[in-house]
């Protein structure tokens, strides 16, 4: 999917998939792209306040390439919500290259009175996963298991 040249970045949108959902994100550079993808996924999963007791969780991931790295990162967001009842609200990166990511995820506790599931996303898949330069910036897409 191409963006018009004057489209502000980072941008995001949904992709069609028969059974599930796709998510695309565009940004100026890989760091902005990964950060935007985390935010877009968390918003697609859960609505409600992002205020709360913020905790930073250290994160280090290894992967074979950009796409595999992004899938691993986004599955962290899914796991934290489903396994730990923690909503990801921020990503800080210290290092990012195609096979390695180091940084921390900012999380707040689930609050049943303020948080509502928007899409019941259970996994981020490798199917058609893509991270690539596009024009002057970068673009990513993933298919989400709902």
């Amino acid at each position: 999917m191409s963006l018009p040249p004057d489209h502000p970045v980072p941008a995001r949108g949904l992709l069609e998939h028969t059974a599930d959902l796709g998510l695309w994100v565009a940004a100026d550079d890989p760091a902005q792209l990964f950060t935007a993808a985390v935010g877009a996924l968390a918003e697609l999963m859960v609505s409600g306040s992002r205020q709360g007791q913020l905790t930073w969780l250290p994160l280090e991931l290894e992967a074979g390439d950009w796409a595999e790295l992004l899938v691993a990162l986004l599955n962290e967001v899914v796991y934290l919500w489903d396994g730990e009842s923690l909503l990801t609200v921020a990503l800080e990166l210290d290092q990012l290259d195609p096979t390695h990511l180091q940084g921390r995820l900012g999380v707040i506790p689930r609050d049943a009175t303020r948080h509502r599931t928007v899409e019941p996303i259970k996994a981020v898949t490798y199917h058609q996963a893509l991270v690539e330069p596009q024009g002057q910036g970068w673009r990513a897409q993933v298919i989400l298991d709902v």
Binding site: E16, T18, A19, E68, D82, G83, T117, V118, P120, A123
Partner: protein
């Protein structure tokens, strides 16, 4: 290059063959009528089936059931069998929701005796009492030893704790326990996702449905299954919850970095030899997750029984919610099948497909020996669901496999667009179908038009002689996860 209709040979009214070509190790066979075939071609499912047919050690054809649609790795509705020595196992051939499946409970009640008001009351009670939603737990909180026992024993753990009867196990595929499970192959993360989710429905397309038997097509099989016209039945659809998803993700990630694994262009189709160390670990973890799912459905069925007894003021004998059958949709199992006149063990992957054993199969309970396995095919929330019976023809042609549901035809975003401005719950209520959904978004995504017509799907299975019609049920109330 995308597969088109011109690439297919029309074998008969219900069979379309993509002959072996290029890197394919065998043919691909699509079971569909002309109308369903167009949908399968349109969304790329056949391209995925072609990729499956390229995996090494494929035995026979890679198969697409009539409810097939695009998945990731395998198409949903895909079946493929592999030689234990030359072949592979693939987490993408099982999917994320390991042993997602369906169970059907029959009752001693006539639906018409309840009337709409009591059905609505029961729907409210089930919606309030059955835990649902993503990550919202609500299930039994398990200590590590309990979880280990569930991963090893599946539904039999639940029955041992008093959540059901020994007879329930008789009427589960594999008696509710897949052998070879190893809790140590399941990661701490998967355990963490699962420890509060046993006995919970989940979200998405998972549901509890109260139905009425509308029509019996095959009295002999219906009698064996304990079904009769007018009867109240309960359908349950759920799987291994976050635990299964995490197992799938863990092993996809492990295999992605395994130089000895096979790495097709679609990363979701990564595969490994069954006897490799990672293959063995995946199979042990997959079996554990499948057992968690069997246990989950057993616990859900127990809750449904308890809630229904309370809501209707009946005891267990009067209610009589007995298990017709419990089938797995997403699983790989080592099974013995006859191929070219020779019986041989095969790793059979079913991703969105139902096992369908014919009469006299040794894995069937005595009560079903004469008629074959109940093949449970739920439809959408507005039309119908079907019970079929497995045939001996399926054993020789599809590795004893059949369709598993209606199959989606609209994406979730398309469904939401089409539902915009409509009052779906009221529309269904006007048809005397009560719906309880956790959100309007879920209701829109799961609206009847989002799915193919299940009657068309089962018509193909019946017409092809692979599973034949026994009974049709109509939804009275649907509780969505």
């Amino acid at each position: 290059m995308a597969t088109s209709a011109s690439d297919l040979t029309n074998v008969d009214q219900y069979r379309w063959k993509l002959a072996r070509q290029g890197e394919m190790r065998g043919d691909a066979l699509v079971l569909a009528d002309h109308g369903l075939l167009q949908g399968i071609l349109r969304d790329g499912a056949l391209d995925q089936l072609r990729a499956v047919a390229c995996l090494p050690g494929l035995v026979g054809a890679a198969l697409a059931m009539p409810d097939a649609h695009q998945g990731y790795g395998f198409p949903i509705g895909g079946v493929a069998a592999f030689d234990p020595g030359e072949g592979v196992v693939s987490p993408g051939g099982v999917g994320y929701d390991i042993n997602c499946g369906v169970r059907l409970l029959r009752s001693k009640l006539l639906a018409d005796d309840l009337g709409p008001a009591r059905v609505a009351g029961l729907a409210d009670a089930l919606a309030a009492g059955v835990p649902a939603g993503v990550g919202e737990g609500g299930g039994r909180r398990l200590d590590p030893d309990e979880l280990d026992r569930i991963l090893m024993r599946g539904a039999s753990w639940a029955v041992g704790q008093g959540f059901g009867t020994l007879e329930d196990l008789t009427f589960c595929e594999s008696e509710g326990t897949i052998s070879g499970a190893d809790p140590d192959a399941v990661s701490d993360r998967a355990r963490q996702r699962g420890h509060g989710q046993a006995g919970s429905l989940g979200a998405g397309n998972h549901f509890v449905e109260l139905g009425r038997v509308e029509q019996v097509y095959d009295p002999e099989a219906a009698e064996a299954y304990g079904l009769h016209p007018g009867q109240l039945v309960v359908w349950l659809h759920s799987g291994s919850r976050g635990l299964g998803h995490q197992v799938c993700d863990d092993y996809l990630r492990l295999l992605a970095r395994d130089p000895e694994a096979l790495h097709p262009a679609d990363r979701q189709l990564v595969a490994t030899r069954p006897d490799s160390s990672n293959g063995q670990a995946y199979l042990a973890a997959m079996a554990a997750a499948a057992n968690f799912a069997f246990c989950n459905r057993q616990l859900l069925a127990h809750q449904v029984r308890e809630i229904t007894m309370r809501a209707l003021g009946l005891g267990p004998a009067a209610l009589g919610l007995g298990l017709v059958y419990d089938v797995a949709h997403n699983v790989v199992k080592l099974e013995t099948h006859q191929v070219n006149g020779r019986r041989r063990p095969l790793w059979v992957h079913r991703k969105g497909a139902t096992r369908a054993l014919g009469p006299a199969h040794p894995d069937l309970p005595a009560r079903y020996q004469a008629v074959g396995q109940p093949v449970l095919v739920p439809g959408d929330m507005g039309r119908a669901s079907y019970i079929l019976r497995g045939t001996n023809r399926a054993e020789t042609e599809t590795f004893a496999s059949s369709a598993h549901g209606a199959g989606r035809q609209l994406s979730r975003t398309q469904a939401k667009k089409q539902a915009s401005g409509r009052r779906l719950a009221q529309e269904l209520a006007a048809q005397e179908i009560q719906v309880r959904a956790r959100s309007q978004g879920t209701l829109a995504e799961e609206m009847p038009e989002a799915y193919k017509d299940v009657s068309q799907v089962v018509g193909v299975m019946h017409g092809a002689g692979l599973a034949t019609l026994v009974a049709r049920t109509r939804p009275l109330a649907v509780i969505k996860g």
